[in-house]
């Protein structure tokens, strides 16, 4: 038993930590959030240059060949920003889906580009009846000569507004199978519309008679697309969990600092047990998320049965980030609500990630199945 990070992971952690402080300070994050364009060229290209977007890409495909725990360490630090994507969506979920479902040729085409951040591939799965079950996918790929035509839309697609390419879940014509097709976000007929409001980089993607080639179908078949996506989602969930842990850690540290410096009634507010209760609830959520997440990463890295742990990590991690932000707001009161303070960056991210890849309720139901109840 050894719950410490390896020396290499400790080093990665501190390098990423410094990178986020330097390249994504609060002012930059606020600017990005205000601009509605999450990939300003400068910090994103620096992030791509680090090679971290290829952390999960095997060496043979031009990546770093890291473990999932390595990815967890990286994304925990990015989560402290919270640094906007499309990093997990493309570098983890996109990469794993291609790895699991792509032909050798597709892997050779996509993975090196994704590792270098020269392309980003963001899965677009959910539709109007929001859900992560296969039956929720309705968008059909209609046969058209040597390829397909897409007509319809994907909604609440996380990171779609910053993707160069979309990996779109589509139903085979008249069929019961779901496959995945790659579509350039700039292709004629594709319209990406960012959703305004209390959401973090969510968009609607409309497909208006979009032409897709036969070779753009992942694995060149509808047989294995959904399974590949599920396999990839299982591996992405605890990495996303680590990102949420980083977010919890950031709002925890913010809250402890504030409890020491904010004076009311002539004393630091952290001397009041009501305020202490909020921070204690916060740290309990933080640590619940941390240890369920890292245990799931470890199980996946060591090829242990991990289904229960994956559902547990998503259910606990997403609840934790959501609640941690709520408690941080209690500690900060009015100040926490002011955009320039920075807490609301996390609050906003926590709501979107709560639903991304299935909400806690969805994963609790699946956990019951996994437990054989």
């Amino acid at each position: 038993m050894d719950l410490a990070l390896t020396p290499d992971q400790e080093m990665l952690k501190s390098v990423v930590h410094r990178f986020v402080q330097q390249e994504y300070p609060k002012e930059t994050l606020l600017e990005i959030a205000a601009s509605g364009s999450p990939t300003p060229s400068e910090p994103w290209s620096k992030l791509a240059e680090t090679g971290w977007l290829g952390i999960a890409v095997p060496l043979e495909y031009g990546g770093e060949g890291g473990t999932l725990t390595d990815a967890g360490v990286l994304f925990e630090e990015l989560g402290r920003g919270p640094v906007p994507g499309p990093h997990i969506t493309s570098g983890i979920l996109g990469v794993f889906t291609v790895l699991a479902g792509g032909t050798e040729e597709q892997k050779r085409e996509w993975l090196p580009l994704l590792a270098r951040g020269e392309r980003t591939l963001v899965p677009a799965v959910t539709e109007a009846d929001y859900g992560w079950e296969q039956e929720d996918v309705r968008l059909a790929a209609h046969r058209n000569g040597a390829g397909f035509r897409l007509n319809g839309s994907k909604v609440y697609v996380f990171d779609a507004n910053s993707a160069s390419h979309l990996l779109c879940a589509v139903r085979s014509e008249g069929g019961d199978q779901v496959g995945l097709v790659t579509v350039p976000a700039s292709a004629p007929g594709v319209e990406v519309r960012p959703l305004p409001g209390f959401s973090w980089n969510m968009a609607e993607v409309k497909f208006n008679d979009v032409a897709v080639g036969e070779s753009d179908l992942l694995g060149l078949s509808f047989d294995s697309g959904w399974d590949a996506l599920q396999w990839a989602i299982d591996r992405t969930i605890p990495v996303l969990g680590a990102f949420q842990v980083g977010g919890c850690q950031a709002v925890y540290e913010m809250s402890v600092d504030y409890s020491r410096t904010r004076v009311q009634f002539g004393t630091p507010v952290g001397r009041f047990q009501r305020v202490q209760d909020h921070i204690i609830n916060l740290v309990n959520h933080l640590d619940s998320a941390r240890w369920t997440t890292y245990e799931a990463l470890w199980k996946l890295d060591t090829d242990r049965p991990a289904q229960e742990s994956v559902h547990l990590a998503k259910a606990v991690g997403s609840e934790a980030y959501h609640q941690a932000c709520n408690y941080a707001h209690e500690v900060h009161a009015g100040l926490g609500g002011m955009t320039e303070y920075g807490l609301t960056l996390h609050t906003t991210a926590s709501r979107t990630l709560y639903h991304y890849l299935g909400n806690p309720r969805f994963h609790r139901l699946r956990l019951a199945d996994a437990l054989g109840l």
């Binding site: 038993m1 719950l3 619940s288 240890w291 054989g372």
Partner: protein, 411 residues
Amino acid sequence: MDFEPRYTEEQERFRVEVREWLKENMPEDIVHPPDSIDLTYEQYQKRRELGRRLGDKGWLWATAPVEYGGGGLTVDQSVIIEEEIDEYGLTIPPYYDTGGRLGGASILVWGSEEQKQHFLPNIMKGRVRTWQLLSEPEAGSDLANVKATAIRDGDDYIVNGQKIYVGSSFGADYMWTLLVTDPDAPRHQNLGWFMIPGDLPGITIQPMEMLISGGEGGAGSGEKNTVYFDNVRVPAFNLVGGENQGWKVATTHLELEHGAGGRAARRNWMVDRLFEYCRTHQRRGQPISKDPEARDRLVDVFVESEIARLFGMRNYWMRHSKTPMTYEGPQNSYFRKMSNLRQATYILDILGPAALTYDPELGAEDGHMEAFQRSAIIGVHPAGTADIQKVIMARRIGIGREVREKAGALA
């Protein structure tokens, strides 16, 4: 990271050795009454005998130093022993005893060499059973407010006063306790930490009537008692850590009792029993576990128990790898207490009133579910109430204060 003790071939051989040894030395017909107050004296003696055999083998307090009667073994070996005895539904030690885990740890840190030689081997080898005597009618959450006195008289101390919520059924060989050695000294500088033989004249033990004994230890304690000291003459040798140094000595066992020790065993018998019951018992023509509402609640129980398991494992690792702790001990204790209480509510939802009776026909799991309903609420308060754990967490985190309080010394 590695969430499982990794075993070398040599350690796997050790596991086989432990397993074989337990098979040979495990007393027959060990039973586990849901409420430990129903444990018979005969059953208690079987557990004591097992404890002595484990002690002789060096497996009772496996990681304690050999020169003081421990096993001098590695953490991984102690985990192997705990896992193997867990298969019998038992813990280390297999009976209520606070000598090796708490009192002994304080003696190891603060005792003189002579005291260590005198007290520790008997504790570590399971020859004696030890109680802790901390709470008093005026000293609950405010433990430093103890009133019982130990006043120096020649080579002895004369002890007078009253301690409550003490120990277990069937008495103890030693009692370790905090007493006022200087009534005029300031708070925290007025206490002495004593190891007192249980058979000294002037000690009276009177059982308390409680809903259940509660307690955090794996082994149920059975009865709780009031202990009266009436001019009890205790040799000065039994004062550990020096006069008026008692609070310092206490920080070690308080730290451990507040959850810093952690736990490595993986099975949760309560959850296993609950799941098994719900899979095998029908309601409206289907297993309870298929009922959508019960199913939701069963998952809630599982999630709670997983987080509690992980916190325990983290602390176990931190302690044994000597990773500095701050708030993790009281967090573990706080979370486990409140989590048990939440789980009890979920189980009350799942099982309905069947959770409230140990009637052989209508109760669930031979009364284990009913006993859990009682222990979940009573267990919130021993060993530092849940609220006190939060107070300690706040100080350790440094909420509202720049200087963070340090954790007690464990070694």
